[in-house]
């Protein structure tokens, strides 16, 4: 049953890594089991909830739908890489706390990264664009409004301060959302 294994090279939150993964292994599983990054959450495992959202070359993707091997040679950003280079919270993270945009917190890493992908490609989004960007991220606790407020506030702050971009997200930002 041991499936074929492959070594892949990728940049994780700005640092080059090489890991061995199985051919069938999802990126989400590789994150947890090979890279010991447990910030991304599994809410459904089938691409329906967005809790596993990570950034692949700056684009938000559902890590439960991407095979680990597909990340070969690419830049991967996770919630663990969202803070500023000095370790302090990013404006987005700060805004989530200030606006109480989280309760149980299980959707939060995915929510923050969907927002990060949006702000990368569109630093001054309208409310509608924010809603669109997180429409694939289910949250059962917050009722979304505080999340939308937090993202809007962070966008304003980052735009004003000339955007401090965390290294993880520094790759070219594609359009929209991946699988």
């Amino acid at each position: 049953m041991e499936a074929t294994r492959r070594t892949i090279r990728l940049v994780v939150n700005g640092k080059p890594r090489s890991i061995e993964v199985a051919a069938h292994e999802t990126l989400l599983a590789a994150l947890k089991e090979r890279l010991y990054l447990t910030g991304a959450k599994e809410g459904c495992g089938v691409g329906e909830c967005g809790a596993c959202t990570v950034l692949l070359d700056g684009r938000a993707v559902n890590a439960c739908l991407v095979l680990a091997v597909e990340a070969d040679g690419r830049e991967l950003g996770t919630i663990e890489g969202e803070a500023r280079p000095d370790g302090s919270l990013s404006a987005l993270q700060r805004a989530f706390i200030d606006h109480a945009a989280l309760q149980c917190g299980f959707c939060t890493p995915g929510m923050v990264l969907s927002a990060r992908a949006l702000l990368r490609r569109n630093p001054r989004p309208s409310r509608e664009e924010i809603v669109e960007a997180i429409a694939g991220n289910l949250c059962r606790c917050t009722g979304y409004e505080p999340v939308i407020d937090a993202i809007a506030a962070a966008a304003e702050e980052e735009a004003a301060e000339g955007s401090v971009v965390p290294p993880a997200a520094s790759a070219g930002a594609g359009e929209g959302r991946g699988p």
Binding site: I97, D98, A100, C104, P109, C139
Partner: protein, 793 residues
């Protein structure tokens, strides 16, 4: 427990303190059971029943055991145990028969999840299908198949629940107040209406998961995404006959609960797998599909409401039948049926009232607690009923509510006298109605288009549903630097209670809130007893326990300081991290010099580490009389109201909520941001129940929409254009600083308010939920056809 601190300026309670769990969560370092792995851990999967009702004729696990990596295979026949919170009616894995489609019949633990999955597929089970009963009305027929022929033998909480052996009735709760016949005689008009709610899911983002290890010396290690570590331990102990002190339950961060993680769930099964696998730790994580069809949900309801009313709108009699579609097991659902009965008339003063609430077994996914615990369900009918009556009597829906609502001097339907301070439903209604411009001329959409505008109101109330002896405790443990560890065993799975408790502790101890460290993991070996984290009771009871513990700390600090400062204890004040003499503030001692004991210059030492102990037990609750339901079931009542303004598109049946205003009498706001965000979250969850969520079953009782694609919970696109929150503060005299719970309440009565607004917009009455575009559109078409035929007649 009202604090002395009421008398002075509050520094932390009521202040905008940000959530203390915020940083861990935005950094992704809050660890949930989902994220955990233990050395040597095996992965489990379950196999579920494809039938709603069937006999298990033969089981063959031979092939499954051969799958490489498999360490344990279990079927129901291996496990002669029953579990349950109120009604002990459920086997760990189905034995002899399966009672719902999705029920777990077998389980495997293996080195990888894939191997466990494959082994499950290779377990061969032969079934003989049996007739299934899929509806509570059918289940009450005299010749209905019995879901539990052995009902008489089941253990249960005696004197509280009343099953009817030989039928499908798991519990019958009666409420009898006044003289019903006289009440109907006093009425000018009598109305009868029927309503229904489908079963729905909590849909918390983190599915149930647990890791359990059966140690060789008989101890059991459990880490679980559970709401109530002590209840897990208690029920586990009863199930297996293992002493409590040999069972260790830990609960880290939990990804949402809403009632669905109360009681006990996966732990017994995972324990049995670990035992079979020679004591290796085993982890079972429920898949999203299983979360829908295997794990419990909110039970469905059918209501029949007969109302006697005077022409001025005053209700003289109310006769209600609630039929709960409990599904295959009723371990928790019986208490939903009970709680929803004793508050089953809504927040109204009803002089003559009969309620029969029957919790009925069917061959469907079973019911459990879900945010609001029966209240969203019954208030859908109660609040729609009032609007239907108001229209017939040409009364304003606002006026009929104000005219009937509970006020000081009323008695509830269980005979509890309403005093001046338990909360004001009338003020809530006023605030919500005013916010949407109730009574003012409406600015509707341009005539001629397909959109219609309407407004609706609904009231609500709820008290914690819990045993009379419910208690909890708190420990405040000073550290050497005079920071404090706060230990409780109620779980904060998102409600924000820990932040509120930290504020209370800071206030009472006279320390900055950042010096209070709430120990996040609940642990039956270390954190003190709490019954369960349910029913919006934690801030109230936990808050009181923390106040008690803080006072214990202060007494210890004062006792030592009195000796050092040569002053009587009664003249010492504790504030700003110091104990000082009241009339001579210069004479003071920093807490730091006291919390581990005070040392005199010559080396002599007195006192010792300061550890405060606090507790609280529900006050004055009584059992309900089995025949009349009279008694005192409620620790506190939280009242609230919603007002909705919406537009409905008659061409599609789509509803757009323009403004949803909510008002609650929270007693005292401990943290405004948290109250507001609890309300927003609850309202949006209520919108899910109102307009989109329902379980779909086929004719054989098979679940048809087990996943987020076919079962739609609200997304960011589905929220109202505007939501507003209004807070009323009538202090609860025995609540911490006057506060009462408000975690569940925001979702209650959302369906009623939307249904009433829809009726206002369209002139069409809806009696069933959800109000999805299909149902609304078909009703519009039907009404249109009826109108055309009427015109042609």
């Amino acid at each position: 427990m009202t604090s002395r601190a009421n008398d002075r300026e509050l520094r932390w309670v009521g202040r905008p303190v940000p959530r203390i769990d915020g940083e861990a969560k935005v950094r992704g370092c809050a660890t949930y059971v989902h994220d955990m792995a233990w050395p040597g851990m095996l992965f489990a999967r379950i196999k579920t029943s494809p039938h709603a009702s069937a006999r298990i004729v033969r089981v063959d696990t031979g092939e499954a055991e051969q799958v490489p990596g498999v360490r344990a295979v279990l079927v129901g026949a291996d496990l002669p145990y029953k579990v349950g919170l109120y009604m002990i009616d459920k086997s760990i894995l189905a034995r002899d028969v399966v009672r719902y489609c999705g029920e777990a019949v077998a389980a495997v633990a293996a080195e990888t999840e894939l191997a466990a999955e494959e082994a499950c597929e290779r377990i061969r089970i032969e079934y003989e299908p049996l007739p299934a009963v899929l509806d509570p009305v059918a289940a009450l027929a005299p010749d209905a198949p019995l879901v539990h022929p052995g009902l008489a033998e089941y253990g249960r909480m005696k004197g509280v629940f009343f099953p009817r052996p030989g039928t499908n009735v798991a519990h019958h709760q009666k409420i009898r107040k006044g003289d019903l016949l006289a009440g109907f005689r006093a009425a000018d008009r009598t109305f009868e209406h029927a309503f229904s709610n489908p079963p729905v899911q909590h849909a918390f983002l983190e599915t149930h998961t647990a890791i359990v290890q059966a140690l060789p010396d008989g101890r059991v290690e459990i880490v679980s995404s559970a709401q109530s570590p002590y209840t897990v331990r208690q029920l586990f102990s009863v199930c297996f006959g293992i002493p409590l002190s040999r069972i260790h339950v830990r609960v880290p961060y939990v990804g949402g609960g809403f009632g669905g993680k109360a009681g006990i769930h996966l732990e017994p099964l995972v324990y049995c797998l670990s035992r079979k696998a020679d004591g290796r730790p085993v982890k079972l994580t429920i898949s999203r599909e299983e979360a829908f069809h295997t794990m419990p949900s909110r039970q469905g309801l059918r209501s029949r409401i007969r109302t006697g009313v005077r022409n001025d709108g005053r209700i003289t009699a109310l006769e209600v039948e609630y039929l709960w579609d409990a599904g295959a097991y009723a371990d928790y659902g019986v208490n939903v049926g009970r709680a929803a009965a004793y508050s089953g008339a809504g927040p109204y003063d009803i002089p003559n009232c009969h309620i029969d609430s029957l919790v009925v077994y069917t061959n469907k996914t079973f019911g459990t607690a879900y945010r609001g615990f029966g209240h969203l369900e019954v208030l859908w009918g109660i609040e729609r009923n009032l609007d239907l009556i108001a229209r017939e009597l040409a009364l304003d829906p606002y006026a009929i509510r104000i005219g009937n609502c509970l006020r000081a001097g009323s008695t509830t339907i269980t005979g509890e006298e309403v005093t001046a301070n338990p909360g004001r439903p009338d003020l809530c209604l006023e605030a919500a109605a005013k916010a949407v411009g109730w009574g003012e001329p409406r600015s509707g959409p341009a005539p001629g288009g397909t959109r219609r505008r309407g407004r609706g109101l609904a009231l609500l109330h709820k008290a914690p549903a819990m045993p009379v002896f419910t208690s909890c405790s708190a420990i405040l443990k000073f550290n050497e630097d005079a920071s404090v560890d706060l230990l409780v065993s109620g779980v904060d799975y998102g409600q924000g209670t820990y932040t509120a408790l930290a504020q209370i502790a800071a206030e009472e101890l006279g320390l900055p809130v950042d010096r209070i460290h709430v120990v996040w993991e609940c642990d039956t070996d270390f954190t003190p007893y709490d019954w369960q984290t349910v029913a919006s009771r934690f801030a109230f009871m936990g808050g009181n326990a923390v106040i008690d513990a803080a006072r214990d700390c202060l007494a210890q600090l004062r006792a030592v300081a009195a000796q050092v400062l040569h002053a009587p204890e009664s003249e010492l004040v504790c504030a700003d991290g110091k104990v000082s003499v009241v009339h001579n503030p210069g004479s003071s001692l920093d807490y730091r010099r006291l919390v581990m004991g005070y040392t005199y210059p010559n080396g002599n030492s007195i006192g010792g580490p300061v550890i405060g102990r606090g507790r609280y037990i529900a006050q004055g609750l009584t059992h309900l009389d089995p025949e009349t339901g009279q008694g005192r079931p409620a620790l506190d009542w939280t009242y609230g109201a919603h007002a909705v303004e919406l537009e409905v598109d008659t061409a599609t049946g789509d509803i757009e909520i323009l403004h949803l205003a909510s008002a609650f009498d929270v007693g005292k706001t401990l943290n405004r941001q948290q109250v507001v965000t609890q309300i927003i979250g609850g309202v949006v969850q209520g919108i899910g129940s109102a307009v989109s969520e329902e379980f779909l079953f086929d004719a054989q009782g098979r679940f048809r929409n087990a996943g987020f694609v076919d079962y739609k919970i609200p997304t960011a696109k589905d929220i109202p254009r505007r939501m507003s929150q209004h807070i009323v503060e009538t202090p609860q005299l025995d609540g911490p600083y006057g506060a009462r719970g408000v975690a569940e309440h925001p979702m209650i009565s959302i369906p009623g308010a939307i249904g009433n607004a829809l009726a206002d917009a369209l002139g069409i009455d809806f009696f069933e939920l959800p109000l999805n575009p299909e149902r609304v559109y078909l009703a519009i078409k039907k009404a249109g056809r009826k109108k055309t035929t009427d015109e042609h007649r």
